[in-house]
Amino acid sequence: MSAPFAKPVTDKTAEPEVLRSPRVFTPGDTTGAGETVSALTEAAPPETAEQVLARPLSGKRHWLMRLALGAIGILISLSLGLWVDHLIRDLMVTAPWLGWIALAVAAALLIVLGLIGMREARSLGRLRTLDALRVRAEKALATDRPQEGRAVTEMLLKVYAHRPDLARAREQIATDRAQLFDGSEHVRLGERLLMAPLDARARALTAASARRVALVTTVSPRALVDIGFVIYESVRLGSDIARLYGARPGFTGTLRILGAIVQHLAVTGGLVLTDGVMEQLVGQGLAAKLSARLGEGVVNGLMTVRVGIAAMRVVRPLPYSTVKSPMVKDFVTELVKVLDSPRS
């Protein structure tokens, strides 16, 4: 048994706080006597699990996996190179002019592939920016720190700098942000002015897509046709919404977004209970009583709505704080309206 003991604990808070005394500077030696504020020098706090979860798009693979993928890629490229090399040699032997054409085509292909690669990299970079923006915005909302908030509006203005439809909103943000002193207010300002119009358009896209899916399902002769159409519409809707929020995804970007949407649907599927009841009621209950095909049509339409909502949640660069996040039940009226008069 050890004896009782008492040890002094070094307590940092016990140290006297150093408070600076008042001073006056002559106007000459102020640097940037405007609205400028010194750069953020604080160390970033450690990432929490939520922040890590909040980045579905630019997920990093394990290094072993990356090594394996890299090796496979190199092997495939080598074999392709060998094949092209053989092809050109063979052609040269047969007829030199054919060989030269093949060489030129191969060079063109290489250049085009390089360009595509650059485009893809850029699109992935945009996705990463949107992700970073969301993480930043969540941090600004939580800490209410002005530096964070300013960084968020700064990034927002940069992301949407070339959008003609948001010119007025950008102008407004640029003038209003000077009046704001709290991080969360900056995020809310950005959400109200930039996100709200985009949200409305994303909703319209989702509703239109859901209508088309419902209609096609109701009238299509074979189940295979509707499955194909649902997948096609979902992919299109996902990339449309991503483009709307400023992601402009390429091929890999679209794949990533779709993956994130599927992941999101899998996670939230069980959570939207109230919405689920609505679906059951409208799809299986009411509409199915009228006709089995109509019921299926509504269910597929609602499925598309969920894809649209998931896409919004995944690519929207700001979290929902002042604007209400969309729900499936908001779209039910739209869907029913169209089933009444199937024109669009």
């Binding site: 706080e17 102020t30 010194s38 003038t175 704001l180 709290d182 109200r192 002042t322």
Partner: protein, 480 residues
Amino acid sequence: MAQPPVSLRDEFGIALSNLADAATGIGTPTIRLGVTGLSRAGKTIFITALVHALLTGARLPGFAPLAEGRLIGARLAEPPDPSIPRFQFEQHLEALTGPEPHWPESTRRISQLRVDLKFQSKKRLRGALGPTLLHLDLVDYPGEWLLDLPLLFLNFAEWSESALKLARLPSRLHIAERFLTALAQANTGAEATEPAAEALAARFTQYLRQAREDEAALSALPPGRFLLPGDLEGSPALTFAPLPPPAGPVKRDSLHAMLERRYEAYKEVVIRPFFRDHFARLDRQVVLVDTIRALNAGPAAVRDLEGALGDILACFRQGENSALGWLFNRRIDKVLFAATKADHIHSSSHDRLEGVMNRLVAGATKRARFAGAETKSVALAAVRATREGMADGHEVIVGTPMPGEQLAGVRYDGKTEVALFPGDLPSAPDRVMDETRPIALNFLKFQPPGRLERLADGSVVLPHIRLDRALDYLIGDKLR
């Protein structure tokens, strides 16, 4: 013994007025916003800036109804009570934005203003009926009068005891000396004569006026009408003074009895109607706390401010509104505590300023929360007189100090612009009350902002700090 701030008869009157309001308010609901603050806390400027911002509808990014495009407009409406002067909004705005901007003079009488707000409701039912109209009622009054409210809880003996105790404090003895000698010479048991009462009251008034010059003393100031009598100058209700407890039984016609009657009359005809008419029926309250001035004056002033605020805020009716009780018994369901003049300090210190203010109103916050009201605190400046910058590693504010302001031996003429670092606020709010370890702080008063931005329609934009956030908290939910 503590007395309730309103009598049963008043209570009945308040309930009837509430009912009448509820009946007439079915068409147009009214929000009574209580702007509460001691003298020089910035009530007049807050009201002016708030009304101006609502009227122009500019630069309020954090005010949700405006940011979401639901607020159609605002205009000044006819004041509800024909017997009270109108708040001189135009004159105050002219003072702030005219060719030679200056702060409005301190308020000397009560005044009122009504603003009509027109908005489109988000609610399906109300929104379907078209735009909704809402009255916003504001009242401005001298802050000194607010100090009277705690007197409603005190009888003559209790008040005399506390007032005399304050007058005998060593720090005040030099200003109270003449009053105290007059008091010692007076024979309070003798038959009451008007000149004797008037002489005592005159000495007492003189003492109070001198005490007001002293920045550290707020709680010693009541009765407030002695400082700003308004239309009651020379009336019997204002001719009394605190007296030491009588030695024996008090005769009905003695000076002591007469002063006691007058004190009660003061409560009855001055304080109670003021409270009943303007504070007993509020919906929302903003408490403006001039933390900066108290910090400038030192720990004693901070303590004093804490005590004065605690006493005053105990008088208000805060709490949750019940569904039916609302007809008769309106309560303040949201209270905003605002540390004013936040432009006197760099925005990086705003949360510390808020912390100090929260410490000052901790008791009131707790009471309001317990009663069921929602509270929030914010550091704000209704009119922002400074800009921000960096100088030599210090976060400074840049502005033009008022003429006569001094720092480090330099006296400012009201024209030169300086960059001021007023000193660091402590991270532990309690330290501002610690007299053993004073903090070096020196805030200067600044001139109102010059060179104001103008909108396309010619109206000026007053810069502010978090006025939009305050407004959103206070009335935003009523504009849904």
